[in-house]
Symmetry: C2
Subunit: 194 residues, 2 copies
Amino acid sequence: MARNIEFNYDRAIDRATRLFWKKGYSNTSLRDLLKVMGIGEGSFYNTVKSKKHLYLECLKHYNDTVSRRRLAALLSTPSVKQGIRAFFKTVLDELDDPRTPRVCLLSGSLSSDVLAERELQRCVISEMNAFSGMFIERLESAKQSGELPKDFDAEVAAQVLVTYLQGLFRVIRVLQSRAQVERQIAALLNGLGL
Amino acid sequence: MARNIEFNYDRAIDRATRLFWKKGYSNTSLRDLLKVMGIGEGSFYNTVKSKKHLYLECLKHYNDTVSRRRLAALLSTPSVKQGIRAFFKTVLDELDDPRTPRVCLLSGSLSSDVLAERELQRCVISEMNAFSGMFIERLESAKQSGELPKDFDAEVAAQVLVTYLQGLFRVIRVLQSRAQVERQIAALLNGLGL
DNA sequence: GAGTTTTTTTAGCAGCTGCTACAGAATCTG
DNA sequence: CAGATTCTGTAGCAGCTGCTAAAAAAACTC
C-alpha cells in the first residue's frame, strides 16, 4: 500500500522519556527531542501529532517501565513492611546509577507548566491516584493478614507516604549522603508504624 | 547629579516575586515580568542587570516576607510541638487565600531550570539549609527544656519534616480537601512523636 | 511500469526569548 | 542657562519556540 515507517517508535518514545525526565516538560525543546529520537519534524508530526501528545505517551511509557518496576518491589515480599522498604530501596538505588535522571517523571509533572495543560493534568492526577491506590490496597491487605493492627488508618498513611515521596524526589536533587536519606526514611516508616 | 528613579523598586520586586511564584522561573518571561513590575527594559537592565539577578532578589524578598512569617509562627509558642503545628497552619491558611500562589517559591526552585544556574543553585541550597536549620534548632531546644525526650533525633526528624513539606507543596496543587491534608499532617507529626 | 498511499526531508513561518544600543527626558551642579 | 549624569522608552537583534506546507522518496497494487 505505502511506504513503511523507518524508525523504532518505542525506542524513540523511550529516548524522549529520558529527556523529559531529565529536563522537565517545557524546558525540553522539540528540536532536542527530535535529536534524541533520531527523527525529523515530518515523521514526528505524522505519528505523534504534538509535543503534548508525546508527553502523554512518555508518561504512559514511564508508568509501564519505571513505576511498574518500583511497584513490583512493593509487592515482592509477603511482608508489606518489607515491601515498602524494598520500594524505597529501588528509589535510592537509582541514585547510584548515573544513567538515570534524578527526579521521578511523574513527580516532576506536578509543576505549573505541565498542570497548565488540561489533558496532561488529568493524566498526571489519574496516575498519581493509581499510584497511591496501590499503597492503600497493600496496607489494607496487611490489616487483613494481621501484619498491621485493625485500627491502622491505611488511607492516611498511604497519603503521607506519597506526599513524602514527592518531597524526597525533590530533595534528592540537592542533597546528600545516601545514608542520611536512609535514616530519614527509616525514621518516617518507624514513626508511621510500618 | 542626575535623574531620579521613577519606580518603586521594592514594590516591583514584590510583583515579580508573585509572578515567579505562580509560574516558575523559566516559564515566566521577561516581558511578563516587566508588565507586572510596570517598567521598561531600559529601567530593568539599568537596575537589576538580568533575569537571573531578579530571581535572586525575589528569593531574598520571599525569604524576608513569606518564609519569615511562617517561621515566626514556628516560634510563636513556648511549646515546640504547638509551634510546628502553627507553622503548618500558616501553610494551609494560604490555601484559602486565592491571592497567593499555591507553591512555595523556594520549594518550586528545586527544579532543573533553576538548579541548572549555579548562582541560583547556591542560593536555593543555602536558604534550604537555613530553613531546616531553624527546625533542628527548635527541636534541640525542646530536648533541653524537656518537652522532647533526650534521645530524640532532632536532625533526622527535621529532615523528614522538610522533605515532607516539599512534597506537601507539590501535592497541594492537585489535591484535595483541607481536612484530608490536616489529617495527613497530624498523622505524620504524631508518628514522629511531635 | 503507472498509479496510489504513506513516510521522510527540507525550508520556513509567526511569535516569543533574554538582552542591547541609543536617542531623549529628567535632574542635578556650576 | 550650559554641562554632566542618570534614568526611561523604543526599536531591534540573533536565536529559539512549536508547528506547517510542500516536494521528494519509498513501498505497495494492478
